[in-house]
């Protein structure tokens, strides 16, 4: 764990920020103001990684006429956890979904720029999304197990990708995936029961098991803990830390504490722009951009 303990330093400050807000009742600042007035939005920090798995350059995404993110360049490094933070609607999810082309499913979504996985542009016309998504797995904000048994949930990926030659091999994959996701102990006796019958935290871990069952290289997580209680959250954070040994992980989160706890690098997005990237410890202790600072100290506008 090389992340810093965020709360210890920021807690008081943030608290005060809120208190200060509360002290001015009725004076709620319109959210629109967050956009700031012609601030400097040039990126600070180093967006590259010495040993990148995915390399994104000048990624711009439009939904129809609307530009959601603008010229974002960022690497995802091998065996790192990179956190993406930023106010709601700033384009974190959009960027994340570019990385395994989940945006393809959205009508009117256009992506430009280049995103390379192992040197190959994933938006190239010849790239097949199916193996891409097997290599770049995704865990969603709301746990979304299939309405099938726990076993089938995990076995689905290996099955469609033909990863197991025999039933025993499949059983093995299911077991290892569930073990890695820290769920095996809890469900080993009821693998044939519906995955939808698990608790929220268990469901989310099931989804993680499902994702790692196809041995992806990168795992994308979009606010994976927002529906979970602290215990479940803690367990998933543990898991992320553990998975880092084998996978690269990009995680979107609203909780700065969480970003501080789990990530090595953090990227701060603001209104579609990537504002600052850097070591998590640096970002939280020593933000270089004013917008970043405002955000992590809870001051805004």
């Amino acid at each position: 764990m090389n992340s810093i303990s965020y709360e210890a330093k920021m807690g008081m400050e943030q608290r005060e920020g809120v208190t200060a807000g509360a002290a001015r009742p009725g004076d709620a600042v319109p959210a629109a103001d967050v956009s700031g007035k012609a601030e400097d939005r040039r990126m600070v920090g180093d967006h590259t990684h010495p040993n990148p798995v995915m390399v994104c350059r000048d990624v711009t995404v439009h939904y129809g006429e609307k530009r959601a993110i603008h010229d974002v360049s960022l690497d995802v490094g091998a065996n790192e956890v990179i956190a993406m933070i930023g106010p709601s609607g700033c384009g974190k999810s959009t960027f994340l979904r570019c990385l395994n082309r989940m945006n393809d499913t959205i009508d009117g979504c256009r992506v430009s720029g280049s995103i390379l996985l192992d040197g190959q542009d994933i938006y190239d016309r010849r790239t097949d999304v199916v193996p891409l998504r097997a290599r770049v797995g995704m865990v969603f904000q709301k746990p979304n197990p299939f309405p099938k048994s726990i076993y089938e949930n995990v076995a689905y990926g290996p099955r469609i990708h033909g990863l197991a030659r025999s039933r025993t091999e499949l059983d093995e994959i299911v077991q290892t995936s569930l073990e890695k996701a820290g769920l095996w102990g809890e469900v080993k006796d009821r693998l044939d029961q519906p995955g939808t019958g698990l608790s929220g935290g268990q469901q989310q871990r099931l989804c993680i098991a499902r994702t790692i069952s196809v041995s992806p290289e990168v795992i994308l997580m979009d606010e994976p803990c927002s529906a979970l209680d602290p215990i479940a959250t803690a367990r998933i954070e543990e898991l992320i830390d553990e998975l880092r040994g084998n996978y690269s992980i990009a995680i979107v989160t609203h909780s700065m504490q969480q970003a501080a706890r789990v990530s090595q690098r953090t990227a701060y997005f603001h209104l579609g722009d990537l504002i600052e990237v850097g070591d998590t410890a640096d970002i939280f202790t020593n933000p270089r951009h004013r917008l970043t600072e405002d955000y992590i100290t809870g001051r805004f506008g």
Binding site: M102, R133, I160
Partner: protein, 427 residues
């Protein structure tokens, strides 16, 4: 203080609001009750009219299977046996019962009391068992439709003779037969085993039933997969553009095309252009397929829409192709809704007459169709034709045929509902 006021206002309005609530609920119950009441009303009125058709009046005759009539040459050749004059046997036995009837006209009337089907029945008996020849047997033969109506009380006897289909003289004969126990109502197997006939007592629905079966098989086999495939394409694959808008508007519009126009289309395309045979269940099925497709597609799309997108994202997210996503996850969840559309669509197809008019299925067809290319008619058409027949005895048979159709419908619905239940087992 203000709180107090608000809650007082709330409390004050409660009585009125609860009255509205009760009224609303009542409307709901009334609506369902009205729907079910109409169904019950229709059903009972049909059943009340139709149940008697499941019985048929028979007359017991003592038939002397006279070899001189049946097989004068004694060859026992099937040809000869089938061509013999069995009607003469029937006439003779009637004559023996009423030796006093002599006039030509009277004897004609007397013979008219039994159905012309009696001789076919005797023929079949002899063909099945030639050993009958030479014996005398007591045989129950079907009575004429007028006698049947009389026996079932549909012909009032207390009105002036001129207003009755059965005049006084035959009435006296019937009374005599009744007193001798020679008249009996028996279960009407003919109704279920025979094809159409112009003699009500010989008419059956087997032909129409088989025709409906073949037609529905074609319709179901085509419209369900095509409808589902179209719904899947439009909902899961098609880009949202003018072309798919066009398809959507088209499908909605086809739902409003009068069914007879589909008949015109069938005539032009399937008969004239593709040279398929007229009156064939295959063509009927094709036309009804085109007619039911919009219903199935519209319901299918609604069902697909209601599958949560998170399921699709989950599958796509681990690298399932779109098609795999649909077949493995979305379709199983949408199937119950698709079945709803299919039930309604098939129910409609099963009850349809007008489009079949144009492709020759509104026809008198006696032989029971044995395949998709044989000339056939369907139950609603049979009902339509019988409803237009002058003979009174067809009234109850019409109702009985409707009952059979409803039975068919209920069975189909039940199967679909069971299927729907099975797939609806969501977790």
């Amino acid at each position: 203080m203000k709180n107090q006021r608000a809650i007082d206002i709330v409390n004050a309005s409660l009585k009125r609001r609860y009255a509205a609530e009760r009224r609303f609920r009542l409307y709901g119950i009334a609506a369902i009750a009205a729907g079910l009441l109409f169904l019950a009303l229709l059903f009972t009125s049909i059943a009340a009219n139709g149940y008697s058709a499941f019985l048929q009046t028979h007359v017991r005759l003592d038939i002397n299977f006279d070899p001189a009539v049946i097989d004068p040459e004694g060859s026992r050749a099937p040809q000869a046996l089938s061509g013999a004059n069995y009607a003469a046997l029937v006439r003779r036995s009637m004559q023996e019962l009423f030796p006093e009837v002599t006039g030509r006209q009277d004897r004609r009337t007397l013979n008219g009391l039994v159905s012309s089907g009696a001789s076919y029945q005797l023929r079949d008996m002899v063909m099945a068992d030639p050993a009958l020849i030479g014996t005398t047997r007591s045989v129950w033969v079907p009575a004429d439709d007028d006698v049947d109506m009389y026996a079932k009380g549909h012909i009032p006897v207390d009105v002036p003779e001129a207003q009755r289909r059965i005049k006084d003289l035959p009435l006296s004969w019937l009374r005599k037969l009744e007193s001798e126990g020679r008249i009996e109502k028996r279960f009407n197997t003919t109704f279920f085993t025979a094809g159409d006939s112009r003699e009500p007592e010989l008419a059956g629905i087997r032909g129409a039933l088989m025709g409906s079966l073949y037609t529905v098989i074609v319709t179901l086999a085509l419209s369900f997969p095509i409808g589902v495939a179209t719904a899947i394409y439009l909902e899961e694959f098609a880009p949202r553009n003018r072309w798919t808008d066009l398809i959507e508007v088209n499908i909605n519009n086809l739902a409003a095309v009068p069914s007879i126009v589909f008949g015109l289309l069938g005539l032009a395309v399937f008969l004239n252009f593709m040279a398929l045979p007229r009156s064939a269940p295959l063509v009927g099925g094709l036309v009804l397929t085109l007619m039911t497709l919009p219903t199935i597609i519209i319901a299918g799309r609604a069902a697909l829409k209601s599958v949560p997108p998170s399921i699709r994202e989950a599958a796509l997210g681990i690298g399932a192709s779109r098609l795999q996503t649909v077949t493995h996850h979305v379709l199983p969840l949408a199937l119950p809704g698709m079945l709803t559309g299919t039930i309604i669509g098939m129910a409609q197809a099963l009850g349809e007459t007008a489009p079949l008019l144009m492709i020759g299925m509104v026809a008198f067809i006696v032989d029971i169709p044995g395949g998709f290319f044989d000339p056939a008619t369907v139950l609603p058409v049979q009902i339509f034709l019988w409803a237009d027949s002058p003979e009174r005895a067809f009234v109850e048979r019409t109702s009985a045929a409707i009952l059979v159709l409803l039975g068919f419908l209920v069975i189909m619905n039940a199967i679909a509902v069971l299927l729907r239940k099975k797939f609806e087992r969501r977790w």
